[in-house]
Symmetry: C2
Subunit: 475 residues, 2 copies
Amino acid sequence: MPVPLVKESDVDVLVIGAGPAGLMCANGLAKAGINVRIIDQRSHEVMAGQADGIQPRTIEVLQSYDLAERLLREGNQMHMAAFYNPSPNGGIERTGRVADIKATTARYPFAVTLMNLNAKEGQAETEIVHAKFVVGADGAHSWVRKTLGIAMDGEQTDFVWGVVDIVPDTDFPDIRNKSAIHSNNGSCMVIPREGDKVRIYVQLTEKEDVDLRDGRIDKAKIGPEKLMQVARKSFYPYSISTKAFDWWTIYNIGQRVASKFSVDERVFVAGDACHTHSPKAGQGMNASMNDTHNLIWKLAYVLRGWADISLLKTYELERRKYAQELISFDKTFFCIVLWEASFRRPRRGGQPRRVPRSHASNLVIGQRVLPHVFTRAADGRPYELQDLLPADTRFKILVFAGDTTNKDQMQRVNALAEEFVHPNNFYAQFGGEEPSTMFDVLTICSAKKDQVNYTDLPAIFRTHWSKYVYPSLLS
Amino acid sequence: MPVPLVKESDVDVLVIGAGPAGLMCANGLAKAGINVRIIDQRSHEVMAGQADGIQPRTIEVLQSYDLAERLLREGNQMHMAAFYNPSPNGGIERTGRVADIKATTARYPFAVTLMNLNAKEGQAETEIVHAKFVVGADGAHSWVRKTLGIAMDGEQTDFVWGVVDIVPDTDFPDIRNKSAIHSNNGSCMVIPREGDKVRIYVQLTEKEDVDLRDGRIDKAKIGPEKLMQVARKSFYPYSISTKAFDWWTIYNIGQRVASKFSVDERVFVAGDACHTHSPKAGQGMNASMNDTHNLIWKLAYVLRGWADISLLKTYELERRKYAQELISFDKTFFCIVLWEASFRRPRRGGQPRRVPRSHASNLVIGQRVLPHVFTRAADGRPYELQDLLPADTRFKILVFAGDTTNKDQMQRVNALAEEFVHPNNFYAQFGGEEPSTMFDVLTICSAKKDQVNYTDLPAIFRTHWSKYVYPSLLS
């Protein structure tokens, strides 16, 4: 009798789960030239694949992988947020309307809602995959997390939300803005989507036959019409109705964070697999994608031998802290009335370290480079600095060359260039034959454009004509 | 014996020639729902399909057909222009460097060079096409023009240019800028292209074995190496060389305009078929595309019965005048030294008419709407006004509603709305059952954003939530 053959394969990184965190991870690793495999066992219960809001920092991150363009073109942009509260005359009234994104450093001062991107079911097949690293991005019910026996810490109470996607017929004046409605008859959130579609989140209570103790839902009693009926009570005196439902669901969610994000720096959990949030702050998917954005370059560096495996410890250090802060933020946010109070989102990647430096004092290690427009010296074309520093898993070297039209300064720049290329220096030592595979050198000068000749700069500081910029008038 | 059948077909418009003017025409007519057919008999001698520069106004026009995005993403943008003249020390020196586009009203303050888009040869086939209108966009040697016996007026002397596309190895500091080089040893133009490519135009004289009397060229004597050799003399003391030639050509061109642009408003000539220019001003292809941009909506209106056929007379009136002005401009431009003098490009579409109006006094009939950013009232998203007025062959109605948060003003707006929808008024009379197929209504108010509710405006002035804007802070 023939022995059935099981297919086997070897990869550097196996990513389990093709949701936002998993796809981000596999895409980034593939771009970095890593041997990566992504697998998914999609079932109909999974929320992933349905839309969610993309926050400004996440747009920046997607842009750094050259993935933001279609999102910006086709997604709905939310620029304004409105707040409705009980009116003394009954019903609700608007108590505030503000820019959705208040951070003055945001390159994209708006959030984006995505279209539905439905995944197709694949064929089941058995295969043994040998991997150096595994990333479990397999959602809130993560098989990876459960297999590793990692506990979820946090509140045990679940909240129950109903969600409908509709093309509304309404006289509600903020239907195209992100709106938080808090009435004496219930609470809703309005999230405008592509085209004329709107998503409405309806918070369900015991009044609507939901048993809140264990989040059990009697689905026979609650359908989309019932959700609209609950929503309508909050919208009064405004009317809202729809001819059809594009999609609807009811789900219960707790706010929890995994006790560990990795085991021995070999297996990692990311996204919903290690932290779950209520939908209100609209940060869940963003945190998930930024989890693996944090992990991609570290895995690439370790696999290339550029960094010790201990670098991977910083993943849990940074991302678990962030998830916890997000939940604290979310809890504050939960008091829907408090939306009006101005707030500060938690910082990404743990506490920044300020290193004593005399130059570029606003570049804080551990924080992103702030968006800023520079002009390329060779062709006078304005470029966003962030676009000159793509997420291409190379070390970025920024040379602040000062006023390159000043002769004394150019002597210093030339001296630095000589030192830079010295065989004993890091650039030659680590860069080897083709330093551009490891290092990307960008030179920023402070000279005025009329006098700059890009050819005057030492060749090492302009490895390509596009790598030399001066301050732009557009900034 | 069977009689061979010749295929026959009926179309509203037959476009002959799939170059820039023809493709623009066919695309615009197809978008307008017109039954259009485009044919082309491409031969290897045709320059069309090779790259050319796209000027700011043409980018605006392409954007109005939703065609600019890829161009802006992939094309090379020219932001700066440099001028080199004979140096007292021999060779050349830079005598000026300025923004390539000086017009302060330009939405895109740069020009773009296109990639090569090579067309494939098709199969020859005989067919009889019956068309209500014919557009001959079949190039400088136009079969349509010759068949109609239309003469080309203008200078009979041709100028001879050599062109090479190279990836240069050079110390010339403005190789990524549009550069005009005038030396005592010849003249060149540098046009940077996508990636690291550069196009160099070399003006040829009798010294280089060109017989200028009839533009005859001894191709055996002049190849790309010879062109580089001529160019190098102009570049001195800078060096320039290349390992390979992506493309090269030599061509002779006169500056001429057809005596007529149409016959009986049934057959039209457009683009190079009715006007040819030297390459220096980089306006030829732009004028060609704007020819058919001018014709598209007129043909659509006449075919739909919205306008009398005499409207088509304005095509020749406007575009022939423009072509003549362009040649006057080009002749001035020809004295390459004069590039440094600031200049004004001729206006598009003949003389604008100023109509006495108390409102919107800066909207000049016959001129384009100037670029300006507004904010949509419903969702606070900034939008370029030009993008709210796409080239969709509908009449655009701009309602300037004033301060819509003022009660007295809103009474006037409501009164106007009532008059607007009155059955005796043009909107109902011409618009019929579905006025939106003929009219696009956009309302611009002057109110401050905090107080605007888009639902307060009469429904006729907000036929869709996106059609109501207020001034943006970004402008």
